[in-house]
Symmetry: D2
Subunit: 143 residues, 4 copies
């Protein structure tokens, strides 16, 4: 049971919707990236600063479960937390809900920590310390 997680909001635009008036299935990954960016800023380590220090976090894998369509102008609540952060690996989990609390999407993204030349590199110790309070190992996998 999750007690707290970093959360931010996102308002759906026409550019994110497709035929049938719902958010196109790939756009959620854009929204999750936006939320990860806000999460790192909230930690006091914006990705831009990490990039300047020669760290990048390319995605190795992602899994999304679409529970209900989001529509134009919906204000989405995006929760972000960590399920793993050790060595060269960093896994995030997400929950996206509508303003009414209706579950829209669950997701996981698995990342590698690398330098800007795409070589794996251990997560810096100070980042691991900042990430710890947000770590909630997944009791059961999404599937």
């Amino acid at each position: 049971m999750m007690l707290s997680a970093f959360a931010c909001t996102h308002r759906v635009t026409y550019s994110e919707c497709t035929v049938g008036n719902h958010v196109y299935y790939s756009r959620y990954l854009d929204i999750l990236e936006e939320a990860r960016g806000e999460f790192f800023r909230h930690l006091g380590k914006p990705l831009l600063a990490l990039q300047a220090a020669d760290f990048a976090f390319p995605v190795l894998e992602c899994r999304l479960k679409y529970h209900a369509p989001a529509r134009y102008d919906d204000v989405l609540q995006v929760q972000v937390w960590l399920t793993f952060a050790k060595g060269v690996r960093l896994n995030f989990a997400y929950r996206v809900a509508g303003a009414d609390g209706k579950q829209v999407l669950e997701g996981e993204t698995f990342h590698c920590c690398t330098n800007l030349s795409e070589k794996p590199k251990r997560l810096p110790e100070d980042l691991i310390q900042l990430l710890k309070p947000h770590l909630q190992p997944q009791p059961e996998r999404l599937n």
Copy 2:
């Protein structure tokens, strides 16, 4: 071991790339949609005709494994096949490779068959017959 699968190609544009000169992680879902569209056309049942007959295939779940970055101007080979097609469910698997055969991405998307009002609806029998030769049940899950 897969003997044959429907395949099409996609050339990477700048609009699909991000900082660091690689395809942005969500754009692969756009490329897989393009490939599914070509696959249905190849079957003789374009999605537009299915839509006109009140069928849609919203995505319930997707899983992507990123093996190597694709770059601007790469010509990607996208293979598409089915792992399940029965009742109201339709599952696709994909393999994306560079022109040199290097594996770029493996993916799965799980769909529901619905009407245009988003109500589940059985796959039409003639479509199931057309899909059969492309069905390769997954021996092991991606993960």
Copy 3:
């Protein structure tokens, strides 16, 4: 000389950037759409409510001047105002600047007012009244 205009902010994500680390040239139109949406909400007439009342504003023409590249994580200031609003036509102008005030983009978009079946339809009188304070006829065209 413009004394005041509706303004909102937008933080640049990786999904909007391309090779060379700058915002891809088409993404500014997505950002301008987001700003128009916020502008209509600010007026008390969100586009969703106008859509429910059978109004749409398809774009007839757009012009963008790119002054300087915006980069990942930049916080853009987007100013929106009107240059024309009469009959079935609605023209917007925009100025996008970096957090430091550096000019990034100037734009104009020309819209038609239509019903949801894409037939032209006069702007509703109450909307025209709300738009008036934001009307600044262009003394000189962008070009």
Copy 4:
């Protein structure tokens, strides 16, 4: 009157469409980029080779006129030609039509020739020679 122009095709996907079932207004710029890429390849000078030789062509300005909506699965014909190519400047014009010949969009994009550090740089003489047959100075501006 234009006698000939480089042309390529583009099939519209769901990822390019928005609410109301038409191509979202910014996606045409993605399609024009794809067409410019094909045009340079056709000349024997792919943009990737020019990039390797330290040339980039950032956009300074663009103008689009939307004549009719393109829909999902439409096969668009995209014509590309040059209206200016001299010194550090390169201007393109475009015409996009449906498979039935119906005009969808007219566009212009104005580019600067730069090095990869975004400093202006003269167009290479061999490129100017290759571009010449595609040069059709605009008798009248789009507006």
